[in-house]
Amino acid sequence: MAESSLSPVVIVGTGVVGVVIAEQLLDAGIPVLMLEAGPRVSRAEIVENYRNLPLAAKGNPIECYPSRPWAPHPEPAGAGKGYLQLSGTDSYAQSYVRYAGGSTWHWAGTCWRLTPADMQLHSRYGVGRDWAFDYATLEPYYTRAEYQLGVCGPDDQALQWPPQRSKPYPMPALPFGPGEARFTEVVREKLGLNNIPTAQARNSGTSYDDRPACCGNNNCVPVCPIGAKYDGATALSRLEARGAVIRDNAVVWRIETNAQNRIEAVHYYDPQRQSHRVSGTLFIIACNGLETPKLLLMSADGRNPDGIANRSGQVGRNMMDHPQITMTVTLEEPYWAGVGPVVNSGIMETSQGDFRAEHAGAYFRFNNFARNRFVTFDALQKGLVGKALDEEIRRMTACTADIVLAHEILPDANNRLTLSDKKDGLGLPKPAIHYDVGDYVRRSLEVYSLPIANRIADAMGATHRVFSKQFNQSKHIMGGTIMGLDPANSVVDAECRTHDHPNLFLPGGGAMASTACGNSTLTMVALAFKAADAIVKQAQEA
C-alpha cells in the first residue's frame, strides 16, 4: 500500500534516541513522523503487569513488557521466546523492549560519561579503536543530554565522573542508602577505593521537566511508576502536542534506495502484515544496537547487496556490551541494600589505567536492588516456615549483597549479528549473534577484576561469596554500526550519518567505537544531540 509522505523527516524508533532527535527537529520547526514497531501502552498498565506477576517472575524486568506477535523482543516465554539465535563462546543474551518509549522504560537511569582516555584506546594503549573525535568535542553534547534527561549528580568535582565538565548537573546527587554508605566506607578505609555517587536521570529532591521527585522507593526497574526517572515514554505526548506524528505497531522491514543510492522511503508492516510505504527526505534509524543493523541487513538490494550502509562490511560486526560477573556475598553485619534508587553509586576509577594495553578495566557496583525478592527463595529452600521464615528473609535481605564487576570490551569483527533463517511472526528473519567476550576481558577477570572483587568481599567481612558462572550481559548494546572517519572500516561518520547514504542517520549505541565500563545511554543521547544538529542543518538546506 503506497502512502504519501507525511513529513520530510522520518524517525524509526521511539526510544530515548528517537525522541531526543524528534524534539530537536521540532525545536527547529521541522515536522517529524515517528514509526514504532511495538505498541503504545500506559504506565499504569505496565505497573499493573508488574504487580500481577508471581514473585519468581518479578526479578526479570522484561516480564511486564509482553511482546506483541508482530514486534517480538527477547523474553523467556511468549512471542519473543527464542527470538535471538545465539552462538559462540559467550551468550549475547540481551534484553530490550519494542514498545513506544523504548528500553529506557526499564533502565536503571545510570548516566556515566566516557572519559577522555575511554575515547582513545588505540592511540593511548594500542588496543581497540579511537573515536572519530575527542572528549572535548563530545562534552557539550553530554551537557545537553544531562539537561534534557534531567540528570542528578554530585557538585564536588572529586566525586564527578569524569571531572571535565562545562556545567554542573541540573540536580544534586541523591543520598546513599545504608548499604551504599557502609560499602563506601569500607572500600575507602580498607582498600583506598572511591565509591562515588552515580550520575542518574532521576529527579532528586525536586520536580523536573513536569515529572515528580524521586522518593527512593527502589522501584526503578522494571518501571518507575511515577515517572521520577526519565524514560522515553515521558516525552511522547509532549512531542505529539508539538505536532509530531507517532505511529505505533508499524514494523519497518525495508529501507528503499533510489538510483543515487539515497534513501527514498521505508516500508512498514502493520499487525495484519499489510505493507505501507513512507517516503521522505531524511531518515533516522534509531532502533537500538540490535534492531538497527538487522534492518540494514534485511534491506539489501541490487545497489547494496550486503545490506544498506554496508560497503565496509562492518554492519552487524563489533557487537559489544559490558560483560559482567556478579559476586553475591553473605555478610556478618547488616548492610541493607535497597534504600533509594536501584543503582546509586559505583567505583569508576578502576576502569582507567595503563593496564588497558593488556586487559580490560572494570567498574565495581554495589547493587542497590532490595534483596528480599531474591533471597526469599533461598529461605524457602531451607524448609523454614512462619516466624522463622520471616526472620530468615529479613536477615538475608540485610546481610547479603550483590557486587557487579562490569568490564569494557574491545570491538571485534567476529562478534557478529547476521540474519537467521528462522523467522518471526511477520516472517522477518530473527537476528543471529555470534559472540565471544575475548581474551582482553577474560584476562581482566583473571588478573584484575576478580582479585579486586575478592579484596572487596574481604573488606566487607564476607563469610561467603559466590560468583556467576559465566559472563552475563549488561543490556548495553553497542558497536553494530560502528563510527569512524574511514568509510572502509566503519559504518557512520562523526555525525552518525552513514558513509554510503548521505540522508540516512544511525545515531545511538551502535555507533560507539569503545564501550568503557559505564552504562552507554548517556553517550547514546549525546550522540543523538550531535546527530540532531547535523540533521537539522541538512533538513534546512534541503
Binding site: N52, C215, P225
Partner: protein, 456 residues
C-alpha cells in the same frame, strides 16, 4: 563658609533619613503586595514580574490580567497615587473605565490610605517597568460594556478603609483587616449571588472557583475548620498542608506559594485568630467534618487480571495503577504525610467532589520552604502521568470516595467533563443577555403604546 558646610551636612542627613524612610516604605509596600498576591494574576509563569498577560478563567469568560509595572506606555507609570488608589479600591482605571471584579477591588477597598501609599511607593520605585502591552479582555455581550459595572459597584462596593472593632483584640482586628483586604479570602471562599456579588450572610461558607471548590473555612466544627487549632491554621498557611486533614492545590496552592508562606508569624496568627471567630449560621448542628471521613481500606480481589480487564474491580485497578505507588495500597499515604492519606482528607471527605476530580485532572503544584510538591496531572496534558478519560476518572473517584472518603458522594463522567472544561459556567451571561432582550422588548412595547396614544 561654616554655615554652608553645616547646611550641606544637614541636607545630607535629611537625604539619608529620607532614603531610609523610602526603603522602609517600599519594603512595607512589597510586603503588602505579597500579602495581596498581586503576582498570582499579574505575572505569567515564566514572565517578568507584574507584566500581566495571564488569562484568568472566570465563569463569564477569560479576563486578561493587565501590566501593572510602572511602564509609562504599557503599565501604570503615569498613575498618580489617587488614580492608583482608585484602581485598587474602587475598580476605576485612570482613564475612568471600570475594572472587572476579577480584580478583587471589593476586598482591597479595605486597605487603609497609609497602606495604599506604601503599595504605590513599591510599585512605582521598586518594580521594573516592562513596556509590553497586554492583550485586551473580550467578554461576551453585555458584559463587555464596562459601564454596567458602575451600577454593580453602586450595589456591592463598600467605602474605602477599615474601621476597627474596639470590642475585639488588636490581633483580631489585624487579622480581619488582612482577611477582608489584602489576602482577599472571601473572593474565593464566599458564595456569590446571581450578579456574581459575594453574599455577606454566607461569608466563608465555601464556593466553586472554576474546577476547584474553595471550601468552608468558618470556625464551625462540622461544616468548617473549627476542629483546627490556631497552630494548625498557621501551619497550613505556611506550608500548604496539614497532615491528616488537608492540602492546598489549585489557586490556594498558588496563594501559599506566592503569598501566605511569606507573611510574618504575627500576621498569620492574627489571620488564624480572626478566622477562628467566624461562625456559620447555616451549618448542621451535628455530624462529622470533611476531615473525619473514611478509613484505610484494601481490596486485592482484582489482583491477577490486567488493568484493562472490564469488571467490577475497574476502580480498584485504576487506583492500583495510578495512585497506589504514592498514596499506598491502603490509601494510607506516607508516615511523614508528604504523600497524604486519602482518608481523613478534605479532598475526599467533602460533600462536593470538585477538589478530588480537579486534583486527578490537574495535579498539585506547590513550592514552600518545605520544598517542592508536585503531583502529576492525569488529564489530557502532555505531562500527564497517564491520560485518564472522563469515565475512568469518575470510576476512580468513586472508588476513592466509596472506599476511603465520603461514601455518600458519587461522581459522574459528566461532572468530570465539566471540570475538564474549567468548571461550571455562570448563567450570568445568559441572564444578562435575556435581561437586555426583555428590556428591549419592554421598551419597544412602551414606544408603540406611547406612539399609538399620541395618534389618538
Amino acid at each position: 563658609m561654616l554655615k554652608l558646610k553645616q547646611l550641606a551636612l544637614s541636607l545630607l542627613l535629611i537625604g539619608g533619613a529620607a532614603q531610609a524612610n523610602d526603603d522602609a516604605l517600599i519594603k512595607k509596600g512589597q510586603y503588602l503586595a505579597i500579602a495581596s498576591d498581586c503576582t498570582a494574576c499579574h505575572t505569567t509563569e515564566h514572565g517578568q514580574p507584574f507584566a500581566g498577560g495571564k488569562a484568568i478563567d472566570s465563569p463569564v469568560g477569560q479576563i486578561i490580567a493587565t501590566n501593572i509595572t510602572p511602564s509609562n506606555t504599557a503599565g501604570i507609570g503615569t498613575y498618580t497615587e489617587q488614580q492608583f488608589a482608585d484602581a485598587l479600591r474602587k475598580g476605576v482605571r485612570a482613564d475612568g473605565a471600570r475594572l472587572y471584579p476579577a480584580m478583587p477591588y471589593t476586598a482591597y477597598a479595605t486597605l487603609t490610605d497609609e497602606d495604599v501609599h506604601a503599595l504605590y511607593a513599591y510599585f512605582m520605585s521598586a518594580v521594573k517597568p516592562v513596556d509590553r502591552v497586554t492583550e485586551q479582555t473580550h467578554l461576551p455581550f453585555p458584559l463587555n460594556l464596562r459601564v454596567s459595572l458602575f451600577f454593580w459597584n453602586a450595589l456591592f462596593l463598600k467605602a474605602p478603609g477599615y474601621t476597627p472593632d474596639a470590642t475585639k483584640s488588636e490581633a483580631w482586628n489585624r487579622g480581619r483587616y488582612l482577611v477582608d483586604g489584602a489576602t482577599h479570602c472571601s473572593t474565593c471562599h464566599t458564595p456569590r449571588g446571581m450578579l456574581m456579588q459575594e453574599k455577606p450572610r454566607e461569608a466563608f461558607t465555601g464556593a466553586q472557583v472554576g474546577a476547584w471548590y474553595a471550601p468552608n473555612i468558618t470556625a464551625n466544627a462540622t461544616s468548617g475548620i473549627g476542629e483546627w487549632s490556631q497552630d494548625d491554621l498557621v501551619t497550613y498557611l505556611k506550608t500548604g498542608r496539614l497532615a491528616g486533614k488537608a492540602q492546598a492545590a489549585g489557586s490556594m496552592a498558588e496563594a501559599i506559594t506566592h503569598s501566605f508562606q511569606y507573611l510574618s508569624e504575627d500576621d498569620l496568627a492574627a489571620i488564624a485568630e480572626y478566622m477562628r471567630s467566624i461562625g456559620d449560621s447555616s451549618a448542621p448542628a451535628s455530624g462529622s467534618s470533611r476531615f473525619q471521613q473514611g478509613n484505610a481500606a484494601n481490596s486485592t480481589a482484582f489482583r491477577g487480571a490486567p488493568l484493562t480487564f472490564p469488571d467490577d474491580h475497574a476502580g480498584a485497578r485504576l487506583y492500583s495503577g495510578n495512585c497506589a505507588s504514592c498514596h499506598g495500597t491502603l490509601a494510607q499515604g506516607t508516615k511523614d504525610a508528604f504523600y497524604p492519606s486519602l482518608f481523613h482528607n478534605s479532598a475526599t471527605g467533602a460533600a462536593n467532589p470538585s477538589n478530588l476530580i480537579a486534583t486527578i485532572l490537574f495535579g498539585v503544584q506547590r513550592h514552600t520552604a518545605e520544598g517542592d510538591v508536585y503531583m502529576p496531572p492525569f488529564g489530557a496534558q502532555p505531562s500527564a502521568l497517564n491520560h485518564l478519560d472522563d469515565r475512568q476518572i469518575a470510576t476512580l473517584s468513586n472508588w476513592i470516595l466509596h472506599n476511603y472518603g465520603n461514601a455518600d458522594v458519587t461522581v459522574s463522567p459528566e461532572q468530570v467533563a465539566e471540570s475538564r472544561r474549567g468548571g461550571p459556567a455562570s448563567s450570568l451571561v445568559m441572564f444578562a443577555q435575556a435581561g437586555i432582550a426583555a428590556g428591549a422588548l419592554l421598551l419597544a412595547v412602551l414606544i408603540i403604546v406611547v406612539w399609538r396614544r399620541r395618534r389618538r
